[in-house]
Symmetry: C2
């Protein structure tokens, strides 16, 4: 089967945050959900936001526009071992699409006020999806959710474990 090539991708808005550079950005928003941000949706897409304010949390898909390299193997922030990029959230991935779930504080027309941002100021937004627990949380009934190499670094709630790697 031939590879699909006709991807039509455009910026639907911009995400404004306090982070001017990738350095200093929270690694995942669940660690620190305090950072506020603003999303300006380009006016021609505003109609698509109708009813969004009914959702407390939204999934943002955005483009890591500050990432200029692509790598298949990375040493993740939490780790000291080389991992496959698809087992991480690193920005250097092919296609460079980022995903974060943020709280939707309010909407004023084409402006969204959000909390829990972890992206660089000026990040191009590609998509918004409503967060729905039942759709997005795997059912635990078939056994525990396993989180691979991350189990040594974060607990089940996503909170970082005390780091003892460099202690004697």
């Amino acid at each position: 089967m031939e590879r699909y090539k006709n991807f039509e991708i455009e910026e639907i808005g911009k995400i404004y945050t306090e982070f001017d550079e990738p350095k200093g950005v929270p690694i995942q928003p669940s660690y620190e959900r305090k950072h506020k941000g603003r999303i300006d949706i380009h006016p021609e897409f505003e109609k698509g936001l109708t009813d969004l304010e009914g959702f407390s949390h939204i999934i943002l898909l955005f483009y890591f526009h500050k990432s200029e390299t692509t790598r298949l193997e990375v040493i993740p922030f939490l780790d000291t071992v080389v991992r496959g990029v698809y087992a991480t959230r690193a920005p250097v991935r092919p296609n460079r699409i980022g995903l974060s779930i943020v709280e939707l504080v309010s909407r004023e027309g084409n402006i969204l006020h959000v909390q829990g941002v972890d992206m660089v100021n000026g990040t191009p937004l590609l998509d918004i999806k409503p967060y729905v627990g039942g759709f997005d949380i795997p059912k635990m009934s078939s056994g525990n959710v396993r989180i691979g190499w991350l189990k040594d670094f974060v607990d089940e709630s996503g909170k970082r474990k005390a780091d003892s790697r460099f202690q004697k």
Copy 2:
């Protein structure tokens, strides 16, 4: 701030399922997590899959390649009212990127066997991210998660409520 335009997007693999047409595809995988699928990652990206098998669930970002129109307002499957497309998961969205969380059953080199698929056979894959509950489940501490118009149609676990719309 100028709009970002230099998106580099390519297919990293293909998702094979039993659904040859969009009709018949489960609306969200949580309703029916029984459908098995296979993902063939193109060989040049295989190295990026290292360590992925440690995760029980993975997030797939894919392209709705069968969707040829873009609309900002839709009547969702569950509803009878027009909604903004960003308050839905409809494929006709600008940028047509789909998101599903599936169970990773096993990996053999560049082949992933997955369960809980809800995409059409031959769907182009854009990205894989490890599913980590703590990163992806909003903290409930700040109040309940609200799911907007969907609250009439699905319960908290994502299960569809009995549909009484057309009953007398």
